[in-house]
């Protein structure tokens, strides 16, 4: 493995002078309108980007666990069952239309091959996909599973999602 060249960033999402970028931390979600890039880092967590192409509104959630189990939730983005409705609600508040939304997903890796628990990444992915199906939101792209972490960038203006992994070429969704 040559590490010198492994981190070359993909440039399909170009940084411009006026472009706003935000990092979406673990368990957080964020919505933007017209222009901007939302970024997050994923291991077993799922990055869920919802995009309204007609109104150029979209959001990104960094989902950690499949279900909130009806406990008091401080970070709605943390659980799949609270992240999706909250993301839709915030997109609607920003002028987006729920029926026009499309989804792109990344993450859900099982990085520690020896771990004793059922892979939480697979559980996260299964729940997010089921919830999207239930909400009638089509999944246009996904880059999920495997054993590697991912860096995700979502361009709100175009809906393009770029996924990078260490030592691998970037992938456009």
């Amino acid at each position: 493995m040559n590490f010198q060249s492994s981190m070359t960033p993909e440039t399909r999402i170009r940084r411009t002078e006026n472009q706003t970028e935000h990092k979406v931390g673990i368990g957080e979600l964020m919505v933007m309108k017209k222009a901007g890039v939302l970024r997050t880092l994923l291991g077993s967590c799922i990055g869920l980007a919802l995009h309204d192409p007609a109104n150029h509104v979209g959001g990104l959630a960094h989902i950690v666990l499949p279900a909130s189990n009806d406990t008091e939730v401080e970070l709605p983005g943390k659980y799949a069952d609270t992240a999706l409705p909250e993301l839709i609600r915030l997109i609607e508040l920003s002028g987006g239309k729920p029926r026009q939304l499309t989804a792109k997903l990344a993450g859900g890796a099982n990085m520690f091959a020896m771990t004793r628990l059922n892979p939480i990444g697979e559980q996260n992915l299964a729940v997010v996909e089921a919830l999207l199906k239930e909400a009638g939101i089509p999944i246009l792209g996904r880059h999920c599973g495997g054993k590697q972490g991912r860096r995700l960038a979502y361009d709100v203006a175009t809906g393009i999602v770029i996924v990078e992994s260490v030592g691998q070429p970037a992938v456009e969704l």
Binding site: M1, N2, F3, Q4, S6, M7, G25, I26, G27, L41, L42, G43, S44, C45, V64, L65, A109, M111, F112, A113, M114, T115, R116, L117, I120, Q148, G149, R150, R151, S165, V166, G167
Partner: protein, 210 residues
């Protein structure tokens, strides 16, 4: 299952256990590397998951990690994280090569860092087990798994390392240690992360030790 945060008294006892582990790991590493080595506990920390994810610095830095699982008295993860320069430098040292010889992670370089973790981790666990056994009815053992080498984004690796604790508690608990070789600080970070079942066991043992 849900886990309660540790009290200050329990954290103090846990710190003593980790110091004992660090002491035994220092001795083992000094023999392995043929150089004076010390490991000091920076912190036994209990903090929200979001804060713990920055323990290795910038989240999107690529870091190397040698991971071991522990079994026995406690279960969970033990890991040694380092940047490329530090890890490859270690392999040069172990192979008696001029510094800077290794430039990429081939089989030999990986083997060097995994064996180093094997030695340090086993000694560390022995030290902790000796200390905690004083609070048990029977002599407890901590057994490490074979090491696994990973190279990935720092934050992605830490998400996975803390995930089991995050399933059951708002705060995560871990010990962080710093290595010094012949008085020179190395950029190696050693983390010990008990799983949720162990946190409950640990709390009982620590209460008996207090």
């Amino acid at each position: 299952m849900s886990t309660e945060p540790f009290t200050d008294q329990q954290i103090a006892q846990l710190t003593k256990a980790f110091h004992r582990g660090a002491s035994e790991a220092s001795t083992a590493l000094a023999q392995w590397l043929h150089a004076p080595m010390s490991i000091s506990i920076d912190a036994v920390d209990q903090c929200p998951l979001e804060s713990a994810l920055s323990v290795l610095g910038e989240g999107d830095n690529a870091v190397c990690m040698v991971l071991m699982e522990m079994e026995g008295l406690l279960t969970g993860h033990m890991l040694l994280a380092f940047d490329d320069v530090s890890g490859l430098g270690l392999s040069d040292m172990l192979l008696s090569r001029p510094k800077g010889t290794a430039t990429s992670w081939e089989e030999l370089e990986r083997s060097c860092v995994m064996e180093t973790m094997n030695i340090a981790g086993s000694a560390y666990l022995n030290g902790i087990a000796h200390y905690l056994s004083e609070g048990c009815d029977e002599r407890g053992e901590l057994i490490p798994s074979p090491p696994q080498f990973l190279r990935d984004f720092a934050e992605s690796l830490l998400q996975s390392a803390f995930m089991e604790q995050a399933l059951f508690a708002r705060e995560v608990v871990f010990a962080k240690a710093r290595f010094d070789l012949s008085g020179q600080p190395l950029r190696w970070t050693f983390l010990l992360i008990p799983d949720p079942a162990s946190l409950e066991t640990l709390a009982e043992i620590l209460n008996r030790l207090s």
